[in-house]
């Protein structure tokens, strides 16, 4: 069996969710989604990646508003959002919980509507982060029919499991559990209620080919924009 890190497993899971998108945008502080995109490119898939925080040669010449204008025009297929809290209706909170203040909503309140698909990603899988109801809605998981909305959540990936979003019932469905965790543990660690696929499978492990790419060209590319992350995950490899 191949040995891999948790970050590598998550990047591979996210790469599969991105699927056949043509244009993916990656926002602030998202090294694992950025790794997933770089992996697809390294496999020769013709994917356009707009990295908001690319340090040199970033794709925008109209300043920091261009990403949002692109999304408004319908040119962004996939976007990623995290959340200090995420609830069972796919609402995202980036502002505050109890007395704790978080950085803020960034572009979430717009991108969640304008991008065709959003992959929710939060490594910490606990009752602290996955809550019955968020304390503050930075961006809502769904909208009533009269409200313009091009896209919404596709899936939620955590450090322990992968959930698919069911648009009609507005509920998550547990699809796969990462190796080392059980369905019962996921239930214990999740604050919101959700459906369960039958069967729930184990999240697919990174293949030998994926690991070779991750530790070669992908590590080098990611190190340019997320140096701390690359040092932690691929110390020496890049």
């Amino acid at each position: 069996m191949n040995t891999y890190t948790r970050e590598e497993l998550l990047a591979c899971a996210i790469a599969r969710l991105i699927g056949d998108a043509r244009h993916v945008a990656v926002g602030a502080a998202s090294p694992i989604p950025a790794t997933a995109c770089a992996l697809l490119r390294a496999r020769g898939i013709g994917l356009r990646i707009s990295l908001l925080h690319k340090r040199s040669g970033n794709p925008f010449t109209e300043g920091s508003r261009e990403l949002f204008d692109l999304a408004g025009q319908g040119r962004i297929d996939v976007f990623f959002l995290g959340g200090a809290q995420i609830d069972g209706e796919a609402n995202v909170n980036l502002v505050r919980a109890g007395t704790n203040r978080f950085p803020g909503s960034f572009g979430s309140a717009f991108m969640y509507f304008a991008a065709k698909r959003t992959i929710l990603f939060r490594e910490e899988h606990s009752r602290r982060t996955l809550v019955p109801r968020v304390d503050f809605i930075s961006a809502p998981g769904w909208s009533p029919p009269e409200v313009w909305r091009r896209g919404g959540p596709q899936a939620l990936v955590t450090g322990k499991a992968l959930f698919a979003w069911q648009k009609e019932s507005r509920r998550f469905r547990l699809e796969s559990v990462h190796p080392g965790y059980t369905v019962e543990e996921i239930r214990d660690d999740t604050g919101f209620d959700y459906d369960v696929a039958s069967p729930v499978v184990n999240t697919e492990m990174p293949s030998r080919e994926e690991l070779a790419l991750l530790r070669g060209p992908v590590a080098r590319e990611i190190a340019a924009n997320y140096p701390e992350f690359a040092r932690r995950v691929w110390a020496g490899a890049a």
């Binding site: 502080a29 925080h53 340090r55 010449t61 300043g63 920091s64 949002f68 803020g104 572009g107 909208s143």
Partner: protein, 289 residues
């Protein structure tokens, strides 16, 4: 504050002179850490004990805002986020927001851009898609939701008032003798300069001639018509970066993130990097020029 920039850009002696032009209580529009930040002026504002500034993050804020907040210069921020990026939470912002000392007007990135674009065009408001159903709409009494007048079907849309900052402040690679500044692709700087009443820019190097006469440079130029005053500040964005010249000093930001977790550590940081050390030497050199 009132009075849009005059015809001629003034050349000031240094970052300290720019700081002296920014009054207490001003609404100060600032770019994100990854853009071009006039850090030398930010340090000078702290040294002159600026008070009650209202920071506008275009569209987010980071290290420079955390310094100003920690130093007690800021009463209020309007921003889509304040963070140190890979170095994590902005510690002084977080503490001040949690204690209630700092008023935070939460926004979302394209709402800030849209409000400034309205100001650029001189229109009172502009619409933005999305955002409906976010608690931001409830919280922001200055934002309104109206029916799209062009749609026969029910179609609520968010309207944002124009944002008119008092002061735009940023750093640039070059200024020229005509008072133009070169910002390259960082067009959010042009947006805040267009929208603001006054615009102050520090620059790395002075270029001879007029950059607007150069076809290759001109698209990255902000014309002097928008620029109130400039001052030279070599490595003036440090510890943040200037594309092609120097990159953000990650180790320094990580050190700051650790120090600023406590008030004492933050004070130590100010003593070392704002009141003394490299910064003070650069300032003193500028004063003797």
């Amino acid at each position: 504050m009132n009075g849009l920039p005059a015809n001629e850009t003034r050349f000031l002696a240094g970052a300290g002179e720019i700081a002296a032009q920014i009054p207490d209580g001003a609404v100060l529009a600032l770019p994100p850490d990854y853009s071009l930040v006039a850090m030398e002026v930010v340090r000078a504002l702290i040294r002159k004990k600026s008070r009650n500034l209202k920071l506008l993050g275009v569209p987010v804020l980071g290290f420079c805002a955390d310094l100003l907040i920690g130093a007690g210069c800021v009463a209020e921020v309007e921003t889509s986020a304040v963070s140190l990026g890979e170095a994590g939470l902005a510690p002084r912002f977080t503490a001040a927001a949690e204690s209630g000392e700092l008023k935070v007007m939460d926004a979302t990135c394209p709402a800030v851009h849209t409000g400034l674009q309205a100001a650029e065009k001189g229109v009172p408001f502009m619409p933005l898609r999305g955002v409906l159903g976010s608690d931001l709409v409830e919280q922001r009494s200055d934002w309104k939701v109206l029916q799209n007048p062009f749609s026969p079907a029910q179609d609520p849309v968010l309207l944002l008032p124009a944002i008119f900052p008092d002061v735009a402040l940023f750093h640039a690679r070059w200024a020229d003798r005509a008072g133009n500044v070169w910002i390259g692709r960082r067009k959010e700087l042009a947006t805040i300069a267009h929208a603001a009443q006054r615009c102050y820019v520090t620059y790395e190097e002075l270029r001879e001639g007029d950059m607007l006469e150069d076809e290759l440079l001109a698209p990255g130029v902000l014309s002097s018509v928008y620029v109130t005053a400039v001052a030279q500040a070599e490595r003036g964005a440090w510890p943040l970066g200037v594309a092609d010249l120097y990159t953000i000093d990650d180790a320094h930001i990580a050190h700051y993130a650790k120090e600023a977790k406590t008030r004492e550590g933050f004070q130590r940081y100010l003593d070392e990097h704002v009141y003394q050390g490299r910064t003070a030497r650069v300032r003193d050199r500028a004063a003797h020029r």
